[in-house]
Amino acid sequence: MNYLWHMLIFISLYSLLSMSLNLVVGYAGLLSLCHAAFYGLGAYSTALLMTRSGWGFFPALLAAMVITALLSSIIAVPSLRLRGDFFVLATLGFQVIVFSLLYNWDNFTNGSYGITGIANPVLFGWSVDTPFRYFLLAGTISVVGLGLMRALALSPFGRVLKAIRENEVAAVALGKNVALLKIVVFAVAAAFAAVSGGIFAAYTQYIDPTSFMLSEALFILSIVIIGGAGNQVGPLIGTVLLVTLPEMLRFLRMPDAIASSLRQVIYGAAIVLLMRFRPQGIQGDYKFD
């Protein structure tokens, strides 16, 4: 039973991650490879505020959202004038640099040893200390987060993002402040990724930088590609599929070491096949053109 809650918690976390990346990739059309950096910044902000400054979970989570959103402008602003591969490489650079800082800045982040002893969240005296309660917490927060992102996507904000994706020059010619909109979408996506990071930190109660590497960013991107980008359905399908895939493999009685690589072979191959035959993924709107 605990195992079920564990799965559902990770589905909640990854639905927030994939849906927020979807805003950047699927709606604004910006191929960002640094989402794990925002995830990590959120996790570390939450963890550090809780363990070093004694903050409670909820204030720390809110602060983590703001901090990560602000830090996202470090990549968003410079990359405004970069196009195509140059933009992708810049986001990649940001991802690697953030990981390197988390891993090597021992005095601040405790480096490769990570941060231990993250306390349980407490809500008005109700302590979140069982998997079921963590599920309630993660589930509720993610439903609210998904609802907010959905509202944004369906609003004129979402529409103008899609216009930028379709034809940026035309959007500029209509008087849209494209630069500001790109900065905003990065900040929003980073904030929601940070929420996921904070919940992750509180759930696992120990974080280290290796959870937030390039491979993680590629995994989140894979969810968006396979499930489909550019609408409110695709990323959710991708999340459920890719998060439960290891479990489905487990039913086939594979040894764990092989299972971990096999699932990556499967979703790597899935991406290749989809790009060839169905670039919009399982249920997406955007074909990456």
């Binding site: 191929l31 410079p78 004038r81 970069l82 196009r83 195509g84 591969d85 140059f86 992708v88 490489l89 810049a90 990649l92 650079g93 940001f94 690697v96 640099i97 390197s100 800082l101 891993y103 090597n104 020059v169 390039l214 590629l218 991107l221 894979s222 590609i225 070491a257 092989i258 690589s261 096999l262 990556q264 072979v265 979703y267 790597g268 191959a269 899935a270 991406i271 290749v272 790009m275 060839r276 670039p279 074909k287 990456f288 053109d289």
Partner: protein
């Protein structure tokens, strides 16, 4: 101390340069960001390990066969993955994502077959040369010599052979080359085969030195990409210079700061170039379509 670092930097830089020129061959002509190039690198390294330690072939044979296989692998990838996308006129983003998926799949197949630990190819002690207090291993010497020769050969091919001229023409103006009847398939196959062979050579040279691990491809690919940007997109010589520069920069960081920060520095250099000097050191041939209005 610094001279020792310099020697190490040059040998590492030569490998970076070799990898970068291979990557540049493919990127400059096809504009495909061939992430799977890193997988070709990894697989070639493991093939060499397999030939050497499982099939017990001689070193020379194992090396040559591995590099041959890498060229073939590169050609297969072009035929099976990119050419069909090109026929469909798929956007470059689709090719990039395809390449990412391929990299993930291939790297993990390697893990499934060989496991995820680092494997050494040569358990014996490496022969070393000493002069004026500096230690140079035989493999480092090979790295420098082979890299310089291969890069030189590639640049000669590009400049003086028919095929090389076609490759440069496709780099400059692909549409025009189609109109003028250049066989696109032939050129594409050639750049992928040659580019992959260069990557394969770099992999083998590195493998003989420090061994193989399933994740060796990504850092090699990323360094090649940074070297390409630093040297300038469109320039093959630039890629080689970029690779050497990164090797030297890394040595500087190790000497003055600490080895742990080399990655961060490499990518900071990347971001600085992207923002302040996107055409790199020697970049030319920025196509008009890439100009933003």
């Amino acid at each position: 101390m610094f001279q020792q670092l310099l020697i190490n930097a040059i040998s590492v830089g030569c490998l970076y340069a070799l990898m970068a020129v291979g990557f540049a061959l493919i990127y400059n002509t096809s504009r495909i960001f061939h992430v799977a190039h890193g997988a070709v690198y990894t697989i070639t390294g493991y093939l060499c390990y397999f030939f050497l330690l499982r099939l017990h072939w001689g070193t020379a044979v194992a090396v040559v066969m591995s590099i041959l296989c890498s060229a073939i692998l590169g050609a297969i990838i072009e035929i099976v993955i990119y050419a069909p996308l090109a026929r469909k006129k798929a956007p470059l983003t689709v090719c990039l994502l395809s390449s990412v998926g391929l990299y993930i799949a291939l790297s993990n197949i390697v893990v499934m077959i060989f496991g995820s630990d680092t494997k050494l190819l040569r358990p014996d002690i490496e022969k070393v040369y000493h002069f004026s207090g500096i230690v140079l291993t035989r493999i480092q010497l090979c790295q420098v010599v082979v890299s310089v020769c291969l890069i030189g050969l590639t640049l000669l091919v590009l400049r003086y052979t028919n095929l090389g001229r076609k490759m440069r023409a496709v780099r400059d103006n692909p549409t025009l080359t189609i109109i003028m009847g250049v066989n696109q398939r032939q050129v594409r196959l050639a750049v992928f085969a040659l580019g992959s062979a260069l990557a394969g050579t770099a992999a083998v040279l590195a493998a003989l030195d420090v061994g193989v691990d399933p994740n060796m491809g990504m850092p090699a690919l990323l360094t090649a990409a940074v070297a390409l940007i630093v040297g300038g997109v469109g320039s093959f010589e630039g890629a080689a210079v970029g690779g050497l520069t990164l090797g030297l920069l890394q040595a500087l960081v190790i000497w003055r700061i600490s080895a742990r920060w080399t990655d961060a520095l490499t990518f900071t250099v990347l971001v600085l170039f992207l923002l302040c000097r996107p055409r790199g050191l020697f970049g030319i041939h920025r196509r008009l379509e890439e100009e933003t209005t």
